[in-house]
Amino acid sequence: MKPTLVASLTLCALSSLIIGAAAQDAPVDLVKVGAKTYDTNCAPCHGDKLVSSGIAFDLKRLREDERPRFDNSVTNGKNAMPSWRGIIKEKDLDALWAYIRANAYP
């Protein structure tokens, strides 16, 4: 067996294992993960539990179709907000977005 094939099979087995474990224990609760990331990195300016003072942008105003705008602001920074590139990673963005959308204004 060629080394590359071994590596591929191992990787495949490993990822199956990870997916399997996640599916068996509990589905990853994106909203909960997002809440934790939010509390650590975002709440100091955007407010506890997404309650905004109006000083920084009220994230509950984001609409369903504004994900690209959200990604762009977090990744590249906007106004007083720094770029979070490298700190808030792509998977964190998914979780953050899930948390924000779960609490968005109707």
């Binding site: 100091p44 407010g47 506890d48 309650v51 905004s52 003072s53 000083i55 007083a80 700190i87």
Partner: protein, 556 residues
Amino acid sequence: MRIFRLMTIAGFAASCFTCAASAQTAADLVASQKSTKEILTYGMGYNAQRYSSLTQINRKNVKNLTAAWAYGLSDQLGLEAQPLVHDGVIYITNHNRTAAVDGVTGKELWRHNIDYPSETTRVVCCGIVNRGSALYEGKLIRGTLDNYILALDAKTGKEIWKTKIADIASGYSITGAPLIANGVIITGVAGAEFGIRGFLAGLDPATGKEIWRTYTIPAKGEKGSETWEGDSAATGGGSTWVTGSYDPELNLVFWGISNPAPWNPRGRKGDNLYTCGIMALDPKTGAIKWFSQTDPHDAFDHDGVNALVQADIKVNGEAKKVVMQAHRDGFLYVLERATGKFLAVNPFVEMNWASGWDYKTNRPMWTDVYTKALAGEKVEVWPSLTGGTNWHPMSYSPKENLLFINTFNVGMNYQAGDPEKVTAGQRAQFVDLTPIKPANMGYLKAVDPTTGKAKWEIPFKVANTAGTMNTASGLVFTGQLTGEFIAVNSSNGKILWKFQTQSGIIGQPITWEKDGVQYVTIGSGIGGVYAMRTAAAEVTHVPTGSALWTFKLQGK
């Protein structure tokens, strides 16, 4: 003309030149505590009492106080700084500007802008702000969020030197005012939420060269390192983000050292020296002369950086030279300045994590709230991490022997889960918190220093996060987060005057005089972590934007 006359004239000219060049000398800074015209230091004097002997504005005529001018800072992010005053010129700072303003007219004389890298604010935990500057020998000296100390020409605003003292990538920032003591610039750093190793640095005012650095967290093998679990000291926090005070007689600088990192205590067993305590240092060398720890192994981000106010008072009937601190943890600490001995420790707000102070062991008498928290259980804690009071400075009246403190009345539900590894430069808290907010979230209190008991208190729905200042005419000045600048009768707590400014007040009032007129100056501009987090729902109708206001009596 005879030679000796020539020499006399030359000598006179030379001494005048020296006079002008050496404005705000070390002696001037000592003397300014008693001056009514000059506010040359953070704290309105080295003792940080924020007390003025001015009496032109008094309880009877304060109703006639009126705005003289307002100066806009073109900024939306909060104005916490204490202004300085020299020769009728006011110096004001925020996160990206330093400005000199004519104190009588409000006209700008110069401004200097700071352009820090955008990623800087990733490591600013609690509001994108600056709290003030220092004056020395014609230079206006301040820190920047990205860890430079800047010296500007106080006459022109031109940069004289700039020294970098730390990296934002490692979690450091500077928000506090420098303190100049015995000819040395002393600066602290912020960043205990980002796994820094805290320190104080001493710089030469002439060149900006760093002449000493004293770490608040010992290196491996150093004394105190045994009070940290494993390698937890390396990212142990101990920041120094609020300016200390200086006793020129003892030649001691007092500085509050902040919380250990992370807030979750379960991965850093031990007393965690030298966090959460008061440190006394020699300003020339940075040598630690004493350290008195208020919260060994802090679990609640009770910090320890609050204003250190000096006074000569009686404790148990005995005259003592003391330094006082209304601490985030809820205790009012009174320590002997020369030795750091705890003389009186009493609660000044509701607290439940300790039942008192043990003077034999010099440690808090912890309750099961604390022990359960260490075990990872969910507990209700008073005061919350916001503290019995926060960074905003109290003031002291030597006339009435009272401290005027804007206190918080906020608790928290708290749980520290399994500890996680701290990465320097990234936010590290690792606790679950929910604030408990009663109907009145704060009080302005007049507190007896040795008992902690309030002579009077005024409730506020939204707690004040501004400093207080008081005068010999029996007035206390402070501001509300909803924008009202108020004057209060110091003996009974009655609000005698109020003025609605354009934003929320989180600044530090001062009073000063020029040409026989007394002025009161305060910054207004909402911001800071309390407004943005805890009280967010209560301030949604407070507009942002910063302005410096100055008031005087009508007709003056």
